[in-house]
Symmetry: C2
Subunit: 327 residues, 2 copies
């Protein structure tokens, strides 16, 4: 079992700029949201936004980059194009220690990018042009690749386009057949709204470890109350982890409910990737045989690091950071 | 006179990663230096280095981006290719408030990039693949563009390739003929070593404002002693500014010698762009009619901001920062 985890997700480069709430309001972009945009909208928004910094992103890609930084051996499947941003994504994820062999798309849409507008409060508003990401299909997966991993990790964001969804369904089938674990992140309220029945069925039948924030799990069960959502989540077998920003995380497992407080952060610069890094820290803890409370603490430590600077990939030695805090 | 300054320089995107001194030593890359590398070396080094962040760079481009942030109206001439990194450079410099209209190179080398390895002490080691930068020629300059500006600013880095050098010489000629000012940065010891006679002649005959660090001015006059170099510099008319890292800056002008201490920096993260931002701050002060000591202080403030984070472009509102410190 050479890989601790195989993740399937969007292969995206983030373009991060600062913006005022007025800039967002003037363009009717809901602050704090993620929205999908087409090429023309991406071009117009890019022309209007401030100077950027390009840092590799993609939700599941961030998660496995975090796991690699914590000493795990992950693999990633996702599609870039054969262009400079694709080369950037490919370099960064490999340099982070993640196996990545999906061939780049030639002659089609360019590499996906996410135009991220960060406001003074550290909140991030994401505008995603998926580009080549959508051109991932069943043909890019092979059974051996999935069989090679202990856990399959899927991002809800990628449930939207049909071909990648089919690839993820095939991967679930293979992983379930071999008795491995399936982990899934709800990704965003808009994903939950668009695929509620699918996501509920996934949780009920196939998912062993679920990640979502409080808004996402409330949307999943169409309730205003976190307790109501937790009540529904408790019906499923497996582990459900609900993140609550600065308030930390709740873990449901085997009838138990564990609350872990958030980590202190001196200054929140950019919350991009907080949930991704939490999942990376949690799954790394799990892969390394830690108890669930420690897994959540590692998730919080990784999330706190990544929101203290621009970009969704760790800037410090996460392994040393966790060791210093948890031993 | 719609532009305060016209800068001619390399149009480069920086690719910034952390590295250990051992990584540099193992590849015989002198720590703290700038070296030019070819495409094959760039590819091999990129494959070996850690995950990066892409942030627009280029010495003179950084300087004018800093000036724009300080309220000036700069223009920039430099060549990118018609590719994604070229689009990044173009977006960033325009979004910073700099006029930039040099047409991108189609079908030749890709956009130039600088692979920057930052060590724990904040020192930066630069490995530059010039690519399309070198394809700048006299044809890309027109007299009106130079006539349009109060100051012409040139980077020593670009003196190396022949076609851009010819373009800079033509620009000097036009600017001198119209009685405008010429500013020049020595850029790097290797530039000085390679073009000592040219640089000395430039200073003696054409340059009104010179920037260099203490190592560069010592190399220029082949002396070990800063005082010796200052003695030589004092022979020229105009302004000479010598930067001394944390020790601040020395300004020679009209027989006067002004010493300005450096700004305190809580933590030096990445010194990339320190000299560029100093020049930007100094020239902005000059354009806005400040005294020379204040110009140097603005340079120090801008440099201190840029070394407190990764990347050579300011992350905060420089104008507000200077106002808070100097009024």
């Amino acid at each position: 079992m050479p890989h601790d985890i195989l993740a399937i997700g969007n292969a995206i480069v983030d373009v991060i700029a600062t913006a005022t709430p007025e800039f967002l309001a003037g363009r009717s972009i809901p602050k704090g949201s993620m929205q999908l945009i087409d090429a023309a909208t991406a071009e117009a928004l890019y022309a209007a936004m401030g100077p950027g910094r390009e840092i590799s992103g993609g939700s599941a890609a961030n998660t496995v980059a975090g796991m690699a930084a914590l000493g795990c051996k992950p693999a990633f499947v996702g599609r870039v194009a054969d262009d400079q941003l694709g080369a950037v994504f490919t370099h960064d994820i490999r340099a982070a220690g993640v196996s990545y062999t999906t061939p780049p798309l030639a002659g089609g849409n360019p590499t996906g990018r996410c135009l991220i507008l960060v406001t003074d409060d550290g909140d991030r508003t994401m505008n995603t042009y998926l580009g080549a990401c959508q051109e991932l299909s069943e043909a890019d997966l092979d059974a051996a690749m999935v069989a090679d991993a202990a856990i399959l990790y899927l991002e809800g964001y990628l449930w939207d386009p049909a071909a990648p969804r089919a690839a993820m369904k095939k991967a679930i089938e293979i992983m379930r057949a071999q008795g491995g674990k399936v982990a899934f992140t709800l990704s965003d309220v808009f994903c939950v709204e668009g695929h509620r029945a699918d996501f509920q069925a996934l949780l009920a039948n196939h998912v062993d470890i679920m990640f979502g924030n409080e808004h996402e799990v409330c949307a999943l069960y169409q309730t205003e109350s976190l307790d109501g959502a937790m009540h529904e989540l408790a019906k499923h077998a497996g582990i459900a982890v609900v993140t609550r920003s600065a308030a930390g995380a709740l873990v449901l497992a085997n009838g138990e409910r564990i609350e872990v407080p958030g980590e202190a952060v001196a200054r929140v610069v950019d919350t991009t990737g907080a949930g991704d890094m939490f999942a990376g820290g949690f799954l790394a803890g799990l892969a390394q045989g830690r108890g669930l409370a420690d897994c959540a603490r590692i998730g919080n430590i990784a999330a706190a690091e990544v929101i203290s600077h621009y970009g969704a990939r760790a800037e410090v030695d996460l392994r040393a950071l966790v060791k210093a805090k948890l031993g």
